[in-house]
């Protein structure tokens, strides 16, 4: 249950683009220094985001990276899936297509519920939300619960 550096970097880089002036390319190096991400690694990641259609690029002098679509139409889940594949998997299998025998039969439903609850957060937060620092009410409610901050 861990978010890899790659996924974390991808969301942060996308957030930088969402916060930038629309239509103005941001250089890879600017993103890298702003978020303390190794430039070479970042470029690998941005390439994947471009292939996924989330960002586009401008080459040459005064080039850089831009969002390919409106910031409020891209969710955190979209970005993670672009670089990591499916949001939730059990041994590489999607929760909806696994089934167990005997005493563990009900476990399949638990994994489905887990994915659903994961989605309820990650699908509902957009890059625009992060860029302007204002999360959806339902997400904020989770964050404001003191229990959420207990290790």
């Amino acid at each position: 249950m861990r978010i890899t550096a790659k996924a974390d970097y991808a969301v942060r880089a996308a957030a930088v683009l969402a916060a930038a002036e629309p239509g103005v390319p941001v250089k890879g190096e600017a993103i890298a220094t702003a978020q303390r991400i190794p430039l070479n690694f970042l470029e690998n990641i941005l390439r994947e985001l471009r292939r996924a259609g989330i960002i586009r690029t401008q080459r040459g002098a005064d080039g850089g990276y831009l969002l390919a679509v409106a910031a409020n139409t891209v969710s955190v889940a979209d970005v993670i899936r672009a670089v990591e594949g499916p949001l939730a998997a059990i041994q590489g299998v999607r929760p909806d297509q696994l089934h167990y025998d005997g005493a563990a039969a009900a476990l399949a439903d638990v994994w489905v519920a887990m994915r659903a609850s994961l989605r309820s957060v990650l699908e509902n937060v957009t890059l625009a939300d992060i860029a302007r620092g204002e999360l959806p009410k339902s997400v904020k409610r989770l964050v404001n619960d003191a229990e959420a901050w207990q290790p």
Copy 2:
């Protein structure tokens, strides 16, 4: 965002013990065949569950594994943490103790919310729930939503 084979096996094995007659040890081999888990690997996992105080063991003929505590006091989260460590981590760091600069500042809260939503499922399902195939209402509600089953 993946559940490893180890965590999956651990929960299934614990579910078998939860479903067994209380006080009667279940042999490792019985668990292995019932859930199609490689025996040697399973023994590694059961050893970790024992160290975590979730199960106990009985050696010798007619020995085997038993739950160390009541099945309704052990959550799926407890089992996963016993074999995998923290439920959610970003690059190995707990969500509550990370912070980002600039445009990504709000992302930290997203990770906290993600963990909270994960917990809302995994902390609330016990081994007893799985063993008798009846999940808590809040979890069932998630599962019954058609959206939850969409790949």
